[in-house]
Every structure is written in C-alpha cells, then in structure tokens.
C-alpha cells in the first residue's frame, strides 16, 4: 500500500513553483490593501496608518449609488442565470439526442470564450433594434445571458458525476419526472447551483465592458465608476473601495466553503470553469 504523501515529499522545484506562483497572484493585492490604509495622499509615499480614505468613501455619494446599482444587478442576473443555466445543464446531460442539439450546446458554450467587446456590442444593437429603454434592466439581461453559460458548466459537471440510480429508483417507484427533479436531483446538485450563482454574481459585479455597452444614461455600475476614476489617475479612495470588495469576496468564499464542508462542496467542479 502506498504511504500518504506530506509536504516533505514534494520536490524543492514543486514547492518553489507553487510558492512563486501564489506570491505572484497575491502580492499585488496585498500591496493594494496595505496602501489603502496609507495616510498620505501620494499613493507611493508611506505616511503612516490611517482610515481616512474609508471615511472619504462613505461621503462619495456617486460611488455608493453605483455600488448599490451593481449589487442589485448582480443579485438579479445571477439568480436568473442560475435558473436558466441549470435548465441548460439538465438539457445537455439528461435530454439525450434531439434535433438541434449541436446548435444548442454551441449556443451554451460560445459566450464562455467570446470576447466581451463583441458580446457587448451585439447586445446593445439588439436593445437598439428592440427600441428598449437602456439602463438597469438591459444590463441585467445582458449579464444574465453572459453568465448563464458559466452556471451551466458548473452544474453540468456535477450532474455528470452523481449517481443516476437514485433518480431511476424514484422513477421506478412511480415518482413523476418533475417531482423526481425537485426532491432528488435538485438537492443533490444544489451545491453546484450555489457555486454557479456565486460565480455569476461575481462576474456581473465585476463586469465593465458589457455593462458599458448595455447601459443607458440612467444606470452607472461600480466598475464603470471605478474605471472613469482610474483613467484620471491613481487615487487612494480607489484603494479603499478595492479593499472593501476584496474583503466581501473573501468573506463570501470563507462562508461558502464552511457551509459546503461536506464532501459535496469539494466537488463543485471549479476546475471545469472557463
């Protein structure tokens, strides 16, 4: 029988490459967080610890409004994307062969890699053609469309790994398909749907390009707001808002991973995303 491996069994090369890789990923974020507590207005001169930029942020009405808009858009579009994405995953895994299947899976997977500028432009032109009022709802629809594919991939990989005999047993005992789905399938794939929702939420909350195309005069999202500030140069307030966003994401991930400590949680299929 094979002995369990410990860190000591890893070669120096492997340990170094993992350490360097993670350092590359986390160092810039760490620097950003540290400098958000910098008292000096000059971003690169250290003037002692301070929370003044967080206080300044609280008085930045436009920024807070943009953040609120982004949160609402992200919550609504992630929920819609979870429903549609789960349906699409069920179709791809369970519906067997049907006419237009290749076309269907093409439609589902293409938005995963399609450059954002093309998605944004095409959605805007659709909204113009439909003569829709551009703003909050058009951005929400755009985000739903773009993120539902991500939900599909996450849910699909979960559907593929779970034991189908449970569903079959329920059906054999006379349980109708819809009820089987609700009482057997849904609880089993729920961790994946939750992960997909979180992913969709983050993608929406994070998106600049598609929102810029799809929005109208009414709605400015947080990334659009940050982007217009960043274009004017580096500002300490931006460091502060970035730190808050990182803290929120980190808290969300910790809560989610604690909640799914059971084995199901570790199999949500992160590795198949995008």
């Amino acid at each position: 029988m094979r002995r369990r491996k410990s860190i000591k069994d890893m070669s120096i090369f492997n340990v170094t490459s993992v350490a360097l890789g993670l350092a590359f990923l986390y160092l810039p974020i760490a620097i950003l967080v540290i400098y958000s507590f910098n008292a000096s207005r000059l971003v690169t001169v250290w003037g002692g610890w301070s929370t003044r930029w967080y206080v300044a942020l609280l008085h930045d009405q436009a920024m807070l409004e943009a953040a609120w808009t982004s949160l609402r858009i992200a919550a609504i579009s992630a929920t819609a994307a979870s429903v549609l994405g789960t349906l699409a995953a069920v179709v791809l895994v369970r519906a067997g062969r049907f006419r237009g299947r290749t076309m269907f899976s093409g439609m589902v997977y293409a938005p995963l890699v399609m450059p954002e500028v093309i998605l944004g432009l095409s959605l805007l032109l659709l909204f113009v053609a439909l003569d829709a009022d551009r703003g909050f709802w058009t951005v929400t629809i755009a985000h739903t469309t773009v993120t539902l594919s991500f939900v599909t991939v996450v849910v699909q990989s979960r559907l593929l790994t779970f034991d189908r005999s449970l569903e079959e047993a329920a059906m054999d005992l006379g349980c109708p398909p819809l009820r089987t789905f609700r009482t057997i399938t849904l609880p089993l794939i729920f961790p994946a749907i939750a992960a997909g929702w979180m992913l969709a939420f983050t993608l929406s909350f994070d998106d600049l390009v598609i929102a810029s195309f799809a929005t109208g005069p009414g709605a400015t999202t947080l990334p659009m707001r940050i982007y217009s500030e960043v274009r004017l140069g580096v500002k300490p307030e931006i460091n502060a808002i970035c730190t808050i966003m990182i803290a929120v994401v980190a808290a969300g991930v910790i809560v989610a991973s604690l909640a799914s400590k059971r084995r199901a949680g570790s199999r949500i299929g992160w590795t198949n995303i995008r």
Partner: protein
C-alpha cells in the same frame, strides 16, 4: 387491462416528452433571443453604411413595408465597411498586434502556469483543493481591481521602480506603464487562473506510476517529463491555451489601462469606433472580422470542452 396500462404509460410518456421539450425550449429561447439574434444584427449592421440619423446607419430593415421594404433593404447593403478594414493599415496592424500579444502572453502563461499546476498536482492530496482555491480566489476579486493594483506598482514613482533603484539595478526610474510590457504583465496576471485550472485538471488525473516506470527503464527525468507527462497533459494544455488566447485577442480593459495610446489592440479599436467615432457599421465590421479570425480557435475550444464534459 394491458391496453389500459399501455394507454396510461403512453400518455405519461407524451407528457414527459412535452416537459422535456419545454425545458429545452426555455433556455434555447433565451439564448436564441439574447445571443444568436444580436450576432445576426451585428452582421446586418456591418453591411450598412453610416448616416446621421437615429439609429445612425442606413438601410434600416422595415419589415412592416413587406416585400418591397425587404428588397430596398437588400439593395442598400454594402461591403464598404469591410473594404475600409482591408484598405486602412490602422485596422490591419491592430488585428496583427492583438494576435501577436495574445500569442506571446499565452506562451508566457503556459511557461508560468505549467510548473504551478504541476506543483499543485504533486502536492499532498488534502492540500490540493486548498491550493486550487487559492489560485482561483484572485479571479473572484474584481478584475478591474487587479489591473488597478498593477498601475500602483508599475507607475513611474511606483513600487517596482523604487525596488529596482533601491537594489541598485537601475539608476533612473524605468517607464513601465503605457508599454507593451505592462500590457503583457497585466494579461498574464489576470489570466493565470484560466491557464492553471485546466492544466491541473489534466495533470491531477495522471498516474505517477508511469513516471516511475519510465525511471525504472532508465529514462532521465527530463526525458520522462517530455515523453510522458507533457503528452498526457495535452488536453489541459490545449484547453488552457485556447481559454486564454481567445479572450485575450479581444481584450479591451487591460491594454486601455496599462498600454500606451499610440498602438491599439483590436478591442480598443472597436470601442473607439463605437463610442468615439459613433461609426456603428465599422464597429460591427471590426467585430465580425474578429469573430472570423477567432472562429477556428472557438470551434476547437468547444470541441475540447464538450469532450471534457463527456458530451460528444
């Protein structure tokens, strides 16, 4: 009695069939309306001409005008926007530049991502999900933030220059921002998770006994790596590279914030045509041409993805 049971089961089956059709239709309808139709509209507008009107192009398809309306519409279509793309060096260099930057960054991503993914796949089992999560986590913190973090570091009085001067490597601050180096650093940083995760997924499945066998048969380690590990991780290499290459070629935010204003990537050209020049037909033609260039990689990616998800 048998026939009654048969009828019931047939009715049940047809109901199930309807349910199945409905499930297919809901998501298919959404994607057809909000993904396929928009792409067709882009194609249509790319064949139109700019006009000072609302919407700012002619001809406008007026289905209410019936057949003559459709004929007028078809007569008004032109390839002018595409001719412009072919004749103006600005567009051509922009495409080539995007592809070159995408190819270069994808290679660097592979060089950095492979050892990282390999290291994670050889880590102790219980540690692996933690490391995978650690690679994935930065992806969840806003993309814009991560680019912004690099502006802090790369600017003239930024940390990188401070460090290089303190170490005595350079005397004068080096210009990093507004260069291609900055663009590539930003791209490699943002896309690293997309490279590492597929690589890890394929490396993790590999049986280490194969390497032991190669060693027993006298293969040096580099040779075993080259002729066993690399071919076995080929699906991951393909998936990761395409996953990075395709979106990078159309990238807008990173070159816009970190790059210079003298040479544009194609995503920026599209953005400028649309938002600044308000030239919708040319912007649409740029998009369609980009799609055509990326069509082969996108189709290959879809194929790889479908196989990975056990769906042929």
């Amino acid at each position: 009695m048998t026939s009654a049971a048969e009828t019931a089961s047939r009715r049940e089956r047809s109901r199930r069939d309807w349910g199945r059709r409905l499930v297919i239709l809901i998501s298919a309808f959404w994607l057809a309306l909000f993904f396929v139709t928009p792409c067709l509209i882009v194609l249509k507008i790319s064949l139109s001409q700019t006009a000072i009107a609302q919407p700012p192009y002619v001809p406008v398809l007026d289905l209410a005008a019936g057949w003559p309306g459709l004929r007028d519409f078809a007569a008004g279509l032109s390839l002018d926007s595409y001719r412009l793309l072919g004749s103006d060096w600005l567009y051509l260099t922009s495409y080539l530049r995007s592809l070159a930057i995408a190819a270069l960054s994808t290679s660097i991503l592979l060089l950095i991502g492979y050892p990282l993914a390999y290291g994670i796949a050889r880590a102790p089992r219980p540690l692996q999900p933690v490391l995978v999560m650690a690679v994935f986590l930065p992806f969840l913190t806003a993309f814009l933030i991560r680019i912004y973090a690099w502006i802090n570091i790369l600017q003239r009085e930024g940390l990188l220059n401070d460090m290089l001067i303190a170490l005595g490597i350079v005397r004068e601050p080096v210009v990093w921002l507004a260069t291609d180096t900055a663009i590539i650093i930003g791209i490699v940083y943002s896309y690293l998770p997309f490279m590492v995760l597929p690589l890890y997924a394929s490396l993790e499945k590999m049986d280490e006994a194969l390497l032991e066998a190669a060693a027993d048969l006298g293969a040096p380690r580099w040779k075993a790596f080259w002729s066993v590990t690399v071919p076995l991780s080929a699906p991951g290499i393909f998936a990761g590279s395409l996953l990075c290459f395709i979106p990078i070629a159309g990238e807008f935010v990173i070159p816009d914030l970190l790059g210079g204003s003298d040479a544009l990537m194609i995503g920026q050209t599209l953005w400028t045509e649309f938002f600044q020049n308000k030239d919708w037909p040319v912007a649409s033609a740029v998009a369609i041409a980009l799609l055509i260039v990326l069509l082969a990689p996108i189709l290959i990616y879809q194929h790889v993805q479908m196989r990975a998800l056990g769906d042929r």
